[in-house]
Amino acid sequence: MTAASLLISELRSSLAEESARIARGFAATGDGRAAVAQRTSLVEDLLRRLWRECVSSDDAGPRGFALVATGGFGRGWLFPYSDIDLLFLFADHASEETHKDAVQRFSQELWDLKLKLSPASRTLAECDRFDLSNTEFTISLLDCRFLLGDREVYARLHDKVIPKLVARESKPLLQGLAEVTRERHGKFGHTVFHLEPNLKETPGGLRDCNVASWLALISAMSKLGEWPDVSSLRPPVRKQLDAALEFLMAARCFLHFRYGRDDNALSWEAQDEAAARKIGASDSADLTAADWMRIYFGHARATQRAVMQLLEEIPESWSALRRQFQGWKSRPSHPDFSVVDGLIFLQQSSSLKDPEMLLRLFHFMAHHGLKLSATTEHRIEQALPALAVTPPRGAELWLYLQETLLQPHAAEALRAMHSLRLLTLLLPELKPIDSLVVRDYYHRFTVDEHSILAIESLHRLNQSQSEWDKRYAEVLGELEDPELLYLALLLHDTGKGVPGANHVEASLEIAGRCLDRLDVEEGERAVVLFLIENHLEMSAQLRRDIFNPETVAAFAEKVGTPERLKMLCLLTYADIKAVNPEALTPWKAENVWQLYIGAANYLNRSADHRVHGDISNEKLARLNSLAPVTGAKFRNFVEGFPQRYLQVHSAEEVIRHMEMADDVSRDAVQVDLKRGRHWYELSLVTKDRPSLFATLTGVLAAWGMNIVKANAFSNQAGTVVDTLYFTDRFRTLELNLSEWQRFKQSIVAILAGEADLEKMLRDRQRSEKNLRVKVVVETRIDFDDDCSSTSTLLQVIAQDRPRLLHRISSCLSQQRCNIEIALIDTEGQMAIDTFYLTSGGKKLSADIQKNVAKALLDELKSLQLS
């Protein structure tokens, strides 16, 4: 055996023995930093012996050639199965040529020892060249460390080449590093909250710890023109990163020893073992896997925050376009905040002791899509202990929260609040799902991130170009109270934090407590709880035959109203989409959509199923609990109303209608007017009479009101309850409180025949300019004789314009049609009006349908021309 082969044999056994010793040491202490230092030292020793054998008997020779550690090895962090980053550095090409064979032999011996080598050969001049397509090499030089050979060559690299290169190329270098980092984050959905994260690559992982150091180093070096002091990061960031590093080092060593290779995936099995062995958390009490992952996510979150702040705070690194964009984002102004380069700063006078200020800050962030500056985050953290003593709650908190949820960048604001521990302080109900890993082969993210992602996926609908997303975006745009949907999404999986419980039931209970805390009013509360209770319902239906009318009918009946159906459809869409990026396949999107339109059509076509003492116990119990009324009186009132009447009106509203119906004997027309968040709501209770609906819509048109939605129902006793939701186009009611009374009196007078509706309409028409049509809607008239046993259903789709509903309903009256039920809706510039019609107490004959269609088309055409 030759001397060389003897050496290799000796090194091989020494490497095996020492590696085993390091592994045993780690198993005993769990000290990752010690393990990587020992392995670094082991490999250095091995390199030295090989250097003497293959390159030079003198550690300081030969001239013009040096061996340099770079990357992780340069930092002195050689993980058990990591690659060894080496730079063969030459003074010039002549030296390189001279030592070519030695380098080859040296590398070959390392490969034979089964060490994974990442070698690079460069001259000093080549190191000085910056290649935008290979920023990794220049970055790896930032961690360079002398090992062997000509120290003077190394000193030229370290003291002259690198500082000059970094100072000269700092902008593209930072830009390149930022781009590579953002691209890597993008591959992981920009979130740390993966159920099985990659310890090195996932946002907040080891790579980000390095990125934070490099960013700070490049920044400092570009200013100083030389190597800065080691502690160039700001102290709080440094402290957070150091804590994260200790943990991540231990965890990565654990994974390498566990797998016996450079595998950094924190699989569920690895999480179990890490928790049992308290890897990186030796001071903790016994840990479950979920507890251990919470510690990991805590470190990862802090690391990601530090990196993102550093990325945002280096304006020189941004491209001209990005600078321009950030400049544009600097425009939003606010008395309490200022914006510089897309970052929010607090005005000097602003105090975060006022909880409202804090809530306004996140609303501002959610509205403009801005980020918090590091100083603002620091001030928030300082303000939290005082806030924790008396956190805001009740209607005021709900008001701010709902306004924040509605903003286009709500998810980013929620993530920032969550990361600063503010979200769980305001809504402690979210604590059990904070960084919670629930093992499920479909879910990719933790429960809290999944919930926020679901909210984000709805907000992103408007920007999407996908055919499916556009359909769902339209439905989202039609919602009356989208904030309730967002709140339901935030809370829908909170029950997953209760071990062993049925998560839907547990979520309902937790959401109930949260709604109490927010003092959410009864009707809204019912909607949120309905959505949470049924958040798996549509997915469950997809496993049935969704083209079977009975399946669709049963589902639609369970949902009850079109508004709830829209919300449930969107919640299902968002919930599936937030499971993982591929979860919402076109197949699923189509199925959800088909079920939605099937159920929506069913609800429109079954609105005349009448109440005959068959109200659900739940509704009846609610009505009885509210009412100072007897059961018999209540039953008489609701007898014969369509089921839809009870579905679209809350128990409180039904009671109010019943009281108004009582008063009809004194005053024939009872009118109630109130202002909602989106529109005014007019309720009218009276005895049925010809042209009632046409006259009522005429009065509103004459007052310049724009009817957005309407329901018209009647009971067996001939009592009519019409509810019209309208916007006040000329702000008549908004600006003149006295007009409220005059408006109501006008309705009563016209229905009593004491005022001239036609004259009022002519006056209004004269004073109005033609409205510009933004989107042309083609008129469509459809009859359906099959969906009701007593009425013919007419659906009119037309361009929305003033007086449209009055003209349609008047036309129907002229054709001697009785409107049994009217369901009026508006979608953008499209009016969608559904009427259940009878003529002479029967369905409309084919002839009458033909006449009605012709009359309506003529009427709508004349309206278009007027």
């Binding site: 199925n591 088909q594 339109i597 099937g598 929506a600």
Partner: protein, 112 residues
């Protein structure tokens, strides 16, 4: 060996899976597919817009079996997937030359 491909209604997947498990078929591949037979699709009108479903969402189940199991599997699938109405789906049988277990290169029926 024979490959059994069954295109069935989505609502019947659980029943078919259970029926196959009962006769000892454990592994299978399931895919979300769309298509139509003679049944063709249908059109739903929603708010004045027509949404035609030319290709109806279905579920495709694939399983490769030893020949001795094929008849039992076909009976299990058709028994569990049948409603008697149009759209119940179809079963296709194809000869399979060989099967290889990637983990250990085992071949033939032993690899199934």
């Amino acid at each position: 060996m024979t490959k059994v491909e069954a295109v069935i209604q989505n609502s019947k997947l659980e029943a078919v899976k259970n029926a196959l498990h009962e006769i000892g078929v454990e592994g299978m591949t399931v895919a979300e597919v769309r298509g139509h037979g003679r049944q063709k699709g249908h059109t739903e009108v929603y708010r004045g817009r027509e949404y035609s479903v030319d290709l109806i969402p279905k579920t495709k189940l694939e399983v490769v079996l030893a020949d001795a199991m094929v008849d039992k599997a076909v009976q299990a699938i058709s028994g569990a997937a049948r409603t008697g109405k149009i759209g119940d789906g179809k079963i296709f049988l194809t000869r399979v030359d060989d099967a290889i277990r990637i983990r250990n290169d085992e071949r033939g029926e032993g690899a199934l």
